[in-house]
Symmetry: C2
Subunit: 739 residues, 2 copies
């Protein structure tokens, strides 16, 4: 009879209750456990697949589901990127005017479809009317200018108000760039809802609004977040991914690659970005699948063709002139500038964000957004380089001055005797347009630098790739122009803008290979890889000299996320210095293998908030048997009390194979060996912390037990490791907030 009862219990435990094996919000996952759960699942499917054809097909479907998810992610994120591009284009122009022939046309589309315009006047067409023109009928005059100005600011305020309100009401996680959080999630942290459906929807909509409002922010970081939301969405279709936090993160890594792929039109760069910057666990299988997802996304976007140029990004360029060795000097100077700018930006931005977090400022996010938008719009309108969207500006700066270029930057004095080919432009003296453009650009640079510091981190979707790229240095080339031999092909101004962009982006994010590869994919040739490399290396070295962390790591630290970065731990501490309990602290909360009662366990659970408890032979010997999760204990005891007869507060809980010898008068004992992890991770107290950190990082542990010659001494959790690391770097250990 009693044996039967145990047998029933076993069957019952074979089907775990719904929540067993899941994690609580803001907790760290255990990678080893997730991995072995997946292997179990895989084994089950493999053995079942031999039973029937249906099971075999099911096992094939399971094996292919990974590729299917990648395909879906690629398709959806490519489509969303295309839609966002089109919408931003239309809404940015909506701030200036409207297309009368079709309201949903952007300025460029409106005039392209009009057959009344010549190529030279392709920006002007009767169908496109500025608001003031539409309302008053006049096209010139101070009043008209002021009315346009006023309406421009009004639209900007309206867009940003809409964005911040949507975020606040529907999806608070949709704000910001998302990359720090995605890095943390990929390293094995749970933030429920951060990659949810609502976040996806609201982030897409508000991203369009925020970019269109003219704020100094880019769509690149948020696109990574959007792609990761897509990844999470499709994960929920397959239990293989939805029920395993480890497998889910493999999909998310690939989704991040797809996101960068569509943001920059650089599939290989996207994969390397995911590998280098955001991912934590990146097996080769994921590399291959990420590449697939990134390619699908890139081709989906290309078939949507949002910019009408058959390219994935607005600022794709192809240069044709070579560069000279002597030019390496300004390129390296650009690198130094980029590194300094990166350091400055990170410091100022973090200081401002900390201020926002700790003072009353953080209580009025809507007001803050409105204020920044207002200031941005008011200051941006008078300068033609800041009035337009940042990607249009970058596109213009990157471009070579061609014969057909109408940009003021290309306003060189034309010599009618010379043939107007692309290459002879540097021979001509610069016209007044170039000088005025340079002034405007310098103002734009200063303005963007300052405003971006305040913008990044506000409560709306914001990326900083593009704003960082903006902060290039465009003065060198005018100096060089004088230095060049007349008649020879000279420097390519666009190249300087691009190298400067790479340097600044490198200084801010500390990307290395992925940055160079993204730029390489943008220029489409090996020709300019040396300048880019020189600038990126210099920029990283200069920036690293002032502080090792990039903007994302800085924001992770600011928010206290439990992220274990790849930097080497070089201090000489031992496991015994980090483990808990410390001296003077109460002894470690442990369970014994066969002498704790249900009531004892319940008291322990109530009195402490540890995630799990070590199980030892007895309080005297302290020899370690295994480790049991708090969550599993709670669920099992609750279930046993409800469904298993004879389990009362006085029942002994045992973790051994056989029930302990107890007098017949005692209540029925409760066997919990099923939830006992018999292979907890242990290190000795003499293990150097650098090894412990390495083990935590590489194996993705949640906790590790410390022993000395077989006796349990203490426990080290991921939080303890992070706190210790913060302490060693003279930072506040209490800044690590989550467990």
């Amino acid at each position: 009879e009693e044996l039967n009862g145990v047998g029933n219990l076993m069957d019952f435990l074979d089907e775990p209750f719904p929540d067993v094996g899941t994690y609580e919000d803001f907790h760290t996952i255990d990678w080893l456990r997730e991995k072995s759960r997946d292997t179990d699942r895989h084994r089950k499917i493999t053995s079942k697949s031999k039973e029937s054809i249906w099971e075999f097909i099911k096992s094939l479907l399971d094996a292919w589901s990974g590729w299917l998810v990648m395909l879906l992610i690629g398709l959806l994120s490519g489509t969303l990127a295309g839609v966002i591009d089109l919408a931003v284009d239309w809404m940015t122009d909506l701030k200036e005017g409207v297309c009368l022939s079709a309201l949903w046309y952007s300025h460029e589309q409106c005039c392209w479809t009009s057959n009344e315009t010549t190529f030279a006047d392709r920006d002007k067409c009767p169908q496109w009317q500025k608001w003031a023109e539409l309302m008053t009928g006049y096209t010139e005059g101070a009043g008209v200018y002021l009315l346009n100005y006023f309406l421009y600011v009004l639209w900007a305020l309206f867009f940003s108000f809409l964005a911040v309100s949507l975020v606040r009401v529907f999806a608070p996680y949709a704000c910001g760039s998302g990359i720090p959080e995605i890095k943390t999630i990929l390293s094995g942290f749970i933030i429920r809802g951060y990659l949810g459906k609502w976040t996806l929807l609201i982030k897409t909509v508000t991203l369009v609004l925020a970019v269109s409002s003219g704020l100094s922010l880019g769509k690149e970081g948020p696109l990574v977040h959007v792609a990761c939301c897509c990844g999470n969405l499709f994960c929920s279709l397959f239990s293989k991914y939805s029920k395993n936090e480890g497998k889910r993160r493999e999909v998310l890594s690939a989704a991040a690659a797809a996101g960068v792929s569509v943001a920059f039109g650089a599939p290989i760069g996207g994969v390397l970005f995911s590998l280098e910057e955001v991912s934590y666990y990146f097996p080769l299988k994921t590399l291959w699948r990420s590449f697939f997802a990134a390619l699908v996304a890139a081709f989906t976007l290309r078939s949507i063709n949002p910019f009408g140029n058959n390219r994935l990004v607005l600022f794709y360029v192809e240069y044709h002139t070579p560069w000279y060795m002597a030019e390496l000097v300004p390129f390296i100077l650009l690198g130094v500038f980029g590194g300094l700018w990166g350091t400055l930006f990170i410091r100022c931005n973090i200081a401002w964000c900390r201020r926002r977090k700790t003072t009353r400022l953080g209580k009025y996010p809507v007001l803050e957004v409105i204020a920044v938008t207002g200031i941005t719009a008011v200051l941006a309108f008078p300068n033609p380089y800041t009035r337009r969207s940042t990607s249009e500006l970058i596109s213009e700066l990157f471009n070579d001055c061609g014969a057909l270029e109408s940009s003021q930057l290309c306003d060189y004095i034309n010599n009618p005797n010379m043939s107007r080919s692309v290459d002879d432009i540097p021979d001509r003296p610069a016209g007044p347009g170039v000088y005025s453009a340079l002034w405007q650009l310098t103002l734009a640079l200063v303005f963007k630098i300052v405003i971006t510091i305040f913008t990044f981190g506000m409560k709306i979707p914001s990326g900083l790739f593009i704003p960082s790229m903006m902060a290039y240095h465009h003065h060198d080339w005018i100096i060089f122009k004088n230095w060049c031999r007349p008649g020879a092909d000279c420097v390519t101004p666009g190249l300087y803008a691009m190298v400067g962009a790479a340097a600044c982006l490198g200084g801010v994010t500390r990307m290395t290979v992925s940055l160079v590869v993204i730029m390489f994919e943008l220029t489409g040739g090996l020709e300019y890889i040396v300048p880019l490399m020189a600038a990126a290396v210099t920029s990283k070295w200069v920036a690293d000299a002032f502080g090792k962390e990039g903007i994302y790591e800085a924001h992770i630290q600011l928010n206290g996320y439990p992220y274990l970065d790849q930097d080497e731990f070089t201090h000489r501490t031992l496991a015994t210095d980090v483990m808990r309990p410390r001296r003077n602290e109460p002894p470690l909360a442990v369970l014994t293998q066969d002498s704790t009662t249900v009531e004892d366990v319940e008291t322990l659970i109530k009195d402490t908030d540890y995630n799990g408890f070590p199980v030892v032979v007895s309080h005297e010997s302290e020899r370690l048997i295994g480790f049991v999760q708090r969550r599993d204990l709670i669920l099992n005891i609750k279930n046993a009390r409800q469904k298993q007869d004879g389990v009362v507060s006085n029942s002994v809980v045992y973790f051994t194979e056989d029930a302990p010898q107890i007098p017949a008068s005692n209540p029925q004992p409760l066997k919990l060996r099923r939830i006992l992890n018999l292979s907890p991770f242990t290190v000795t107290d003499h293990t150097p912390m650098e090894t412990v950190v390495d083990i935590f990082r590489k194996l993705g542990l949640r906790q590790c037990l410390v022993t000395r010659s077989g006796r349990l001494l203490g426990i080290i959790t991921k939080k303890d490791v992070l706190r210790h690391m913060a302490q060693m770097m003279n930072q506040d250990p209490e800044s690590i907030m989550f467990n």
Copy 2:
């Protein structure tokens, strides 16, 4: 007095004897130990750097030495690749004839420098004379043909005899592709001399000879070996790398990337190849440095410009015609073909190599090489597609038929009324040249397939990238030609050759991302990435269906190297099933912390060949204290016996902090705590083997101790893990030969 003695001993131990901490030949390194040694070194330098300016400069030099090594590797491997290319070009032509104006000119260079030739006859010039012409004066006739034939074969035999003799006499490790061994070395195995200076020199020379002899082998794999030798060479300049096997492997990973970069002219592909295919431990720092080394190597090669086309490889192509969706069907078929060919090749080649290893065949390597060269040369000469070097052939196949192309493959019947543009070729009917070329190509394909199986694995430098790429499928396009609408741009034959090459290479090596990226860098555009991707994916799937391992893994297994691959271990065994001692075996050889005598230790060392011994509290309690290396024990006892008074056979060896209580009459005890590893890695006997495999792989362990509730039960070494894995896959566990 006694305390003083101990103090002296401590000082003496502070300067370890020369061999402490090194590994024996054919042994596995302990990655965790190497890493912590490097951290110690780094700490020392950092703390010293504050003492004086000179120490500060030294610390800066130390920090920059990594980049310096990368620069040197890039320069040397780029130069060597250029020299090899030039020498192969010259010597391949030497088999046919000689340039009278300058003996060191190849055929092409000879005629380019001659000003008597027109462009159409650029292959013919009076300065270039075939051997028969030079000897007899006649240029035509059967006798002349036969004499040329005979001399061609003779030269081939001479080259290959020279190559195999040089390898046998001077550097036996210079044979083969080298990639399986490099994979094993990078995973943490010691093969002394495999990357030595002699190997570098002889491999470079014999590679030229082997390729020039016309054997069906490529220079790509050996170039990786050559680059790794360069890496090892420069490591010896810096104690940071030469004295730390872990750090040395970081440099070697980067060198492998540089090797692929020059072999294919694909720096990004090289880095991904190193990451995906050969490297084991690849931190982000290495990624960035590898990229640098790969770029330097590529630019060095480009400045040497061995092919005179300003490209890094002979077969760089730029296609201009788009491809159609319907073409995906033949591309996927090519993938299937590639996968099947890969499987077939691996099976046949491994069967042949096993035969060579186990039968008398292996005893006559020189004869084997001579025989294969003879057969290759005799069969190759009559067919113009096999007579030339394989890379020239590939270059011709990859190329579009342009108006200036003199290749027989482009012998379409010209319609004089039509303008001779590049794109209209498909409209013209194929001439007789195309049909005869097709026949010859088919024969060449069959011939190459068969001969490569026998060539790869012979005792001369041989790579198989290029031969695999040869085995493309060139029939489809003639079918498609009829299917195309006349007047429209149709299929690009070169693209089919390239997709076929990618498919075959994928089938043989199971490369994925790196393969597509290398091909992408060869074509220089995103346009053809989808066909390449489709073929690569199909090829890998088809080939994987027949067996998971690529050619390199198969050769690693054939040679019994201790290589732990990245595949997931899915069996349900536990640590207790794998650990030693097994049941019925004698108990584990252990030392006790304070009761073993010097003589006991010496007996244990003599009687066993274990690499190390666990140290326990006592034989009764079996509680684990630490682990001590065999090598360290031998060295320390030998030294103590020589230099330390009072240490005799009867002395007690102790590993505790304080000397054990012993009677005054006993000899002086020997303290060995310094060599005791106080943090040996342990797992419980219940740990699933999948976790153990994961730990071995990720942490790079050499051995792991198995405990149950604090008591030492056994030990698992890397060899045990590999044997167990072989057993689980129904392979002979004794095939794992090294430890």
